[in-house]
Amino acid sequence: MEHKRITVFLAIIWGVVAILPLFFGSTNFIMHILIMCLIWSVVASCWDLIMGFAGIFSFGQVAFFVIGSYSSAIISARLGVPPVFSVFIAGIFTAGLGVLVGLPCLKLKGAYIALVTFAVHMILEPVLKGDIGRALGTGGARGILTIAPMNIFGYTFTSSDPIPYFYLLFLVAVVCSVIILMVIKSHWGTAFLALKDAEEFASCLGVSAFKYKLMVFALTSFLTGMIGGFYAHYVGMLSTRMLGIDLFVTLMIILVIGGVGKFPGAVIGAFITIAVNEMLSPLGSYRPIILGGLVVVLVLALPDGITGLFEKMFSEKKQGLSH
């Protein structure tokens, strides 16, 4: 999609989301879902940036999210840093880890990268639960049950009054998506695509695979870790259960529905997926069956997700090539 169109598209999405509380503001249940949509939209967009766009099969997204949320909770509790700042520190910390994880991935390809990054995900649970985690203040298997709520200039955002928190996160999500958009638009975006298509040639043209791959790890893990912090201070409690397969699958579905490498598809994907998931929840075990079936059908029928569909609808007929 052309950049101008992406920008317009993004503006429309955020415009619509901004007024949602007008309709649902009175129902905490729905507001809670909307807040989660905002959070997942950022996580999924970051994933899309690194996987769909930069072509690095990173499966560590959930892990980075959890790392960010734990570190913000611990930093604010242990060091007494106010949550407004601890989320940023958590983001920076996560970015540091992201770079560390990125390093071994530089030499690896496809499914190997997926595995190495997923390994971080797998190891995280025993580490957080075990002696190391307990020493750091993760609360071991119990998790952390009392995390200070977000507080800005003396105003406390609590989860029982979700509208202010919604707008706070709305702001954060908008900023994140603008950053991602800028990255895609800038020469970074071109560098990723070039490296993905022909790494040798790209490097002979002066593109540093090393630099750009690490930068994308750093940026996506920074944003993911930071939003993890916002999540922690919103929900107020954390445990390692988040590392179960469920969240991972949900994020993947968000990407399928939104379209891989089709930013801002991930944002739309997040809202649709979470909404559908909620609507299906009375169906119990049939919910994941339907969801799974939906993924299968969508991948086949809508290869580029909803965004691909829009693109097809709006773009003029492909030009034929002249000789």
């Binding site: 560098a191 298509d197 040798e200 040639f201 490097s203 002979c204 002066g206 593109v207 540093s208």
Partner: protein, 235 residues
């Protein structure tokens, strides 16, 4: 400006490049030829930093062994590949822009990209996606992207392969213009006699990684050893 001293590359038991030494001077069109498997492309890979090697390569007096490909590109050495490498997800203009943005020491200049597009005759296809183009266009994009790094030396690996007589003449003109108008030193690997004799100023023939002879192209192509191992009598 580009000086190789005793450069050697082994792949296991096979010595692909065997103690080669030569110098390419500024402004030259320098030809490299030799039988299949002689080590020509490998030589390019060594110069552009894709493989480690033994020996020394210096560029404008600076030793480049151990530098990574993107650093070498920034120094002003640019290349194309024998089997076209392209960026299917980018448009023609963007592809060429990659070279300008990342390889040029002066940073991105739209004017320069336009100039290159003009130069390789792709200005009317600038928005086309690269994947849909034909072999010749793909090669032109490679050359264009390499040119966009504002190189001092451009290394071409069999640019003419697969082209017909007329296209070969066009390509030769292009290379001459790059050399003359842009002042870029050219190193070219080719298998076409016509190209070797008419285009190059100095010609190096290698076989199994070893130099056979090096010098004036007409003399070199008349050398019986070269005819024996490489040219055959037909041509």
């Amino acid at each position: 400006m580009l000086k190789l001293t005793n450069v050697t590359k082994k792949f296991g038991e096979l010595t692909a490049v065997n103690s080669l030494s030569f110098t390419v001077s500024k402004g030259q069109v320098f030809g490299i030829a030799g039988p299949n498997g002689a080590g020509k492309s490998t030589l390019y890979n060594l110069i552009s930093g894709l493989y480690p090697f033994e020996g020394a390569i210096s560029f404008n007096g600076k030793e480049i062994a151990g530098l990574s490909p993107h650093q070498i590109a920034k120094l002003g050495i640019s290349r194309t590949f024998q089997i076209p490498q392209i960026f299917p997800s980018l448009s023609v203009e963007k592809s060429i822009g990659v070279g300008n943005h990342f390889g040029s020491r002066e940073g991105f200049e739209q004017d320069y990209v336009d100039k290159v597009l003009e130069f390789v005759n792709l200005h009317d296809k600038r928005h086309a996606m690269v994947g849909q183009l034909n072999l010749l266009d793909k090669k032109m994009i490679m050359i264009g992207a390499a040119l966009a790094t504002k190189p001092e030396v451009l290394m071409l690996d069999e640019p003419m392969a697969g082209s017909n007589a007329k296209e070969i003449i066009q390509l030769m003109e292009l290379i001459q213009r790059i050399n003359r108008d842009l002042g870029v030193t050219i190193i070219i690997i080719e298998h076409f006699m016509k190209v070797l004799t008419e285009l190059t100023e100095k010609l190096l023939i290698i076989e199994t990684g070893t130099e056979i002879c090096c010098g004036d192209p007409v003399e070199v192509t008349g050398d019986p050893r070269v005819i024996e191992c490489y040219l055959g009598d037909g041509t």
